[in-house]
């Protein structure tokens, strides 16, 4: 099967400094790939390189078999959406206006949104539970509401793949769960391919199909959740003692980071350790 997105020996740098090196992996249609790693490991840079926002210094990003840099931005925006962690609107805009922007890639320079575009936008808003916000100003919304509106805008693009850049960074834990529920739903029920950068390893492990662990601009490990979220990998990449167990409900691996005085040597923790192999 032809991968939707493929990084081939990808290298990216700013000025003298290399940020990404020798990155190769594939994303297949219907994947839910979470990218994790410590701060500065190059997660966001990788995501932006995948979207064509920054140029590869070496290697290539192939989207549907064609280098992503060969697409015009408009062409790409018709099937690839990007949800950033912050939005910098200067003018007051209504939620409806914001969501309808997702239709722009499908419109010619002078044309207006037709009935089909309005319908797509309405469905996107229904799906993200933002229909009732339509006439409110985007700037007046709460963080969680804004996040949902931006996802609705991405959905209005009718994309095949959506890239998420730490979308939960500014959400409280309740909204973080809501968010993952939402994109899991998109992945399962709409067949959307998802690549999400996340700093919350447990939530990512709970929802995603595959994971990519990054360290210092390179891929440390790529595989299924239980292949990536292991005690040795976590310790190697994050440099901290971890307690690894299984989420009692979902059965996905779960980590707890331990501080300097809470390590395995203290003994008390060891009794609770449940190794995945043993269950």
């Amino acid at each position: 099967m032809e991968p939707v997105l493929r990084a081939e020996d990808l290298g990216v740098g700013y000025g003298e400094q290399d940020v990404l090196e020798n990155i190769s992996f594939q994303v297949y249609a219907g994947d839910f790939l979470s990218v994790i790693g410590p701060n500065g490991s190059g997660k966001t840079t990788l995501l932006r390189a995948l979207s064509g926002a920054i140029r590869a210094r070496t290697g290539n990003v192939m989207y549907k078999g064609i280098p992503v840099r060969d697409y015009s931005r408009k062409q790409l925006a018709k099937s690839m959406a990007f949800v950033a962690q912050e939005y910098a609107f200067t003018h007051p805009m209504t939620v409806k206006e914001v969501v309808l922007m997702g239709r722009y890639p499908h419109l010619s320079r002078l044309s207006f949104e037709g009935p089909h575009d309005l319908e797509v936008a309405r469905q996107a808003m229904r799906f993200t539970d933002t229909e009732h916000l339509g006439d409110r100003r985007f700037q007046e919304l709460s963080g969680g509401e804004r996040q949902r509106v931006i996802i609705a805008r991405a959905l209005a693009q009718e994309p095949e793949i959506v890239l998420f850049d730490e979308p939960t960074a500014f959400l409280d834990i309740g909204h973080q769960v809501d968010f993952f529920d939402l994109i899991w739903d998109l992945n399962r029920n709409r067949g959307l391919t998802i690549v999400a950068v996340s700093h919350d390893i447990n939530l990512a492990a709970q929802y995603s199909g595959r994971m990519l662990l990054m360290q210092k601009g390179r891929v440390y490990r790529l595989g299924t959740v239980s292949e990536v979220v292991t005690e040795d990998a976590m310790r190697a990449v994050y440099g901290k003692q971890v307690l690894l167990d299984l989420n009692p409900v979902t059965g996905s691996p779960r980590i707890t980071l331990l501080g300097r005085n809470q390590g395995a040597e203290s003994g008390a923790v060891v009794e609770h350790r449940v190794m995945p192999e043993n269950t």
Partner: protein, 337 residues
């Protein structure tokens, strides 16, 4: 807030065009020699029987009203686009120093006594273009079209140009001062049909061209990153827009001098009433800018008649307090980002 549908846009344009006709009629009827609407109508029908009044209306006021309309239209539109491009509520055609560059060109032509035809206008236009080239050169040299770099460049160029202007002003003879101040305050007192014919095509074609970028501007208002991911070639689009704006500004300044505040107030007012969709905002700000400047220029002609004020004095006098009022109003629109 108005949804950007063709019907709504036509409606808004219709209403504003009607307003423009009203303001223009008022402008034609008033001045140092008050005519009133009745007399104006007779003059326009050619039945006034007064050659002097016909000349006043047709040769003096009409070109002036038309030029004010064209200049106001251009300034209103440029203000909208500058504010969006620079993501700054204070941005207007003059913040980047384009207008002071133009004014410097004009003043240099006067002081150096250049004598080729339309020397002053040509130098004004040239000054504006050189400024844009400088701005783009400096900010490109620093890597990208970063907003802060652009604004800082503008501020620095403004200060630099004004220092040269003040040098010329302080060393010029007294008789030339009036002509120099014309460029500093903005003035429509020398309007002729020739000026209208020179500037109107640029402003109209510019408006059509900008309208093609209305949706792109909506996206740019949502942030460079978002615009990029929603299908805009951000850098390229910005450069194209900046060059268009400098063309319009250069032409406008070359016939009117530096008229401030129009490009600042008009976009804010229109945005407050009609919302931020550029498909509505662009034509509405153009038309409203036209109305605003015709009204301001009429005031400039009437306030201390038969002496005339430079229209820039009126726009700044109304503009500054009004702007503070707008800024203090809740929901004036600009979110600190």
């Amino acid at each position: 807030m108005i949804a950007a549908k063709p019907r709504n846009i036509l409606l808004v344009c219709g209403i504003l065009s009607g307003l423009f006709c009203l303001v223009a009629a008022l402008g034609l009827a008033s001045g140092a020699v008050p005519l009133g609407f009745g007399r104006l109508w007779e003059v326009l029908r050619g039945s006034s029987g007064s050659a002097v009044e016909e000349m006043i209306v047709l040769d003096l006021r009409l070109p002036r009203v038309l030029l004010a309309g064209v200049v106001g239209f251009g300034l209103g539109q440029c203000g909208v686009v500058f504010q969006t491009l620079l993501r700054n509520p204070l941005a207007e055609p003059f913040i980047l120093g384009i207008s002071s560059g133009s004014a410097l060109g004009a003043i240099a032509a006067i002081v150096l006594g250049l004598q080729f035809p339309a020397a002053v206008s040509v130098c004004a236009f040239g000054g504006g273009l050189v400024t844009i080239a400088l701005i783009l050169g400096i900010s490109q040299g620093r890597g990208s079209m970063n907003t802060t770099t652009l604004l800082l460049t503008g501020v620095v160029l403004n200060a630099f140009f004004y220092s040269i202007i003040m040098f010329f002003v302080s060393t010029s003879t007294e008789e030339k001062l009036h002509a120099l101040l014309f460029w500093l305050y903005g003035d429509l007192g020398r309007s002729q049909y020739l000026h209208v014919a020179a500037v109107a095509p640029v402003v109209i074609l510019g408006a059509l061209f900008l309208y093609g970028y209305a949706k792109s501007l909506n996206l740019l208002a949502a942030g460079d990153e978002a615009a990029h991911h929603l299908g805009i070639e951000v850098e390229k689009t910005k450069i194209v827009l900046f060059v268009t704006l400098s063309l319009i500004t250069g032409f406008v300044v070359s016939v009117s001098g530096v008229i401030g505040f129009v490009g600042l107030i008009v976009p804010h007012l229109v945005r407050m009433v009609l919302g931020s969709d550029h498909r509505v905002l662009l034509p509405a700000a153009g038309l409203f800018g036209a109305c605003f400047l015709v009204a301001a220029d009429t005031a400039a002609r009437v306030v201390i008649a038969p002496t005339e004020l430079p229209v820039g004095v009126i726009t700044a006098f109304l503009g500054a307090p009004f702007f503070i009022l707008v800024l203090n109003r809740k929901g004036s629109g600009w979110s600190p980002s």
